[in-house]
């Protein structure tokens, strides 16, 4: 039972409550740094580190932090993790850090992270909070990667810098420019909502069939 519950918290972030596709949170990094798959993954990993670290601390100290100053405490915790991620990336992968630029420090302002602290980590035990953070971060990573991969393939004819098509491929430059982010995100959201709609319709059909079966 206990195990199932934390597993549930992990899974919901990836699909049902996906931070990007279902909650539409964290749009700023989502649109800005997804012009290549590598950047998207680096951003996703940095966000995961910050989210899991902050959720762990916030949940552990949830009974110590007075509610009047909780937001300031959350921000201090988040900002510390962001600074750690910032310097670590700068030291280990300067090339990626240069590409992500100002968007690493801006993780502090990612409403996804503060939102999870306020809505979940500050109310639930550490284990569940960490699972929830991991799930949300994985969902965010999946979303960033799908956007980054689509944009890199169409806009540059490559994935992870490896050319996929021959020389005759004319890259769709617009896909790696800012408008490409909006276009791709719009199409993905359309697909996600269509899928949800179809699923609800299917469940309704099943329920109706069961009811009429019971009646008859």
């Amino acid at each position: 039972m206990k195990k199932n519950e934390s597993y549930e918290e992990f899974l919901k972030g990836i699909w049902r409550d996906n931070p990007v596709f279902a909650q539409v949170l964290g749009m700023c990094p989502m649109l800005a740094v997804t012009n290549s798959a590598v950047n998207a993954i680096a951003m996703g990993m940095a966000t995961m580190f910050v989210l899991v670290g902050s959720s762990f601390l916030v949940s552990t100290f949830r009974n110590v932090i007075p509610k009047q100053v909780r937001i300031s405490c959350f921000i201090i915790i988040i900002a510390t993790f962001v600074t750690i991620a910032d310097y670590t990336l700068l030291a280990l992968v300067p090339g990626v850090h240069k590409e992500l630029g100002a968007f690493i420090p801006l993780i502090v302002a990612n409403c996804l992270i503060l939102g999870r602290q306020e809505a979940f980590a500050s109310r639930y035990p550490t284990k569940l909070a960490v699972m929830d953070a991991l799930g949300m971060a994985c969902g965010f990573l999946v979303a960033l990667f799908s956007l980054g991969a689509v944009r890199e393939i169409l806009g540059d004819g490559a994935l992870f810098g490896v050319k996929l098509f021959g020389d005759s491929f004319e890259p769709w430059v617009i896909m790696i420019l800012p408008p490409g982010g909006f276009l791709t995100l719009g199409v993905i959201l359309l697909f996600f909502n269509w899928f949800k709609y179809k699923k609800d319709e299917f469940l309704d059909d099943v329920a109706r069939a069961e009811r009429s079966g019971a009646d008859g």
Partner: protein, 227 residues
């Protein structure tokens, strides 16, 4: 599993609020100092390596370099240039003979500041190489200033006398003319303008050809002649 509301509704004293924030800030500060101190050597080494690689790239044949600054009308060798002090890098070959200067320059491009480094041989008055260090030019168009090999190759032997001129693609014939990139005219003109401006700014401060400061061996101390 339901949220514990009794604790949330209690009124803590002001002292407790202040103390909580103070402790949180203190711990956070210590953590940040720790990570800063532990990554600083790697970050500095990365930056120095990037600069060395760029210098060696824009000055073919160079194997050693040193930073030079202009003080009291003289070009002096420094190991650690002051922040915000304009600096050029002297490039030397294996035997310690002066090859040329690597000159950093920066200026507005199409979207944001373009920072570049170019190799300059004062004796011939030639630019012998150019490398873009920083740019946020439009991907696919403006970023050709460093992705288009033909354009970069334009700077392999470019006369700065009287100054570099950017012309339409295919029209460049004179040794001081650069073919602009089609679709990135503003970015290519910006590169030319930055080099011209940097050259003009340093023209008075560089010593006459043949009187460049000799290489200072690292063993003998790098601070060189102070004022």
């Amino acid at each position: 599993m339901s949220p514990d509301t009794s604790k949330l509704n209690a009124q803590p004293s002001a002292l407790r609020l202040v103390l909580t924030l103070a402790v949180a800030g203190l711990i956070s500060g210590v953590a940040i100092i720790g990570i800063y101190e532990s990554t600083l050597p790697t970050i500095t080494a990365n930056k120095a390596r990037e600069l060395r690689e760029a210098v060696f790239k824009v000055l073919p044949g160079v194997t050693r370099m040193q930073a030079l600054v202009s003080r009291d009308g003289d070009l002096v060798v420094v190991s650690e240039p002051d922040k915000d002090e304009p600096v050029v890098y002297g490039g030397y070959d294996d035997t310690g003979d002066f090859v040329g200067y690597a000159m950093p320059g920066a200026g507005p491009g199409f979207q944001d500041t373009i920072a570049l480094l170019y190799g300059y041989k004062p004796e011939e008055g030639l630019v012998v190489g150019m490398e873009i260090l920083e740019s946020r030019e439009t991907p696919g168009l403006g970023d050709k200033i460093f992705k288009d090999e033909e354009f970069v190759a334009e700077f392999d032997a470019l006369s700065v006398r009287p100054e570099i001129v950017s012309v339409k693609k295919g029209a460049g014939t004179a040794p001081n003319e650069v073919d602009s990139i089609t679709g990135a005219t503003i970015s290519s003109k910006a590169v030319v303008r930055i080099i011209n401006e940097t050259h003009a700014a340093w023209a008075e401060r560089l010593p006459p050809a043949g009187k460049e400061p000799a290489i200072v061996e690292p063993e003998t101390g790098g601070t060189g002649a102070g004022p």
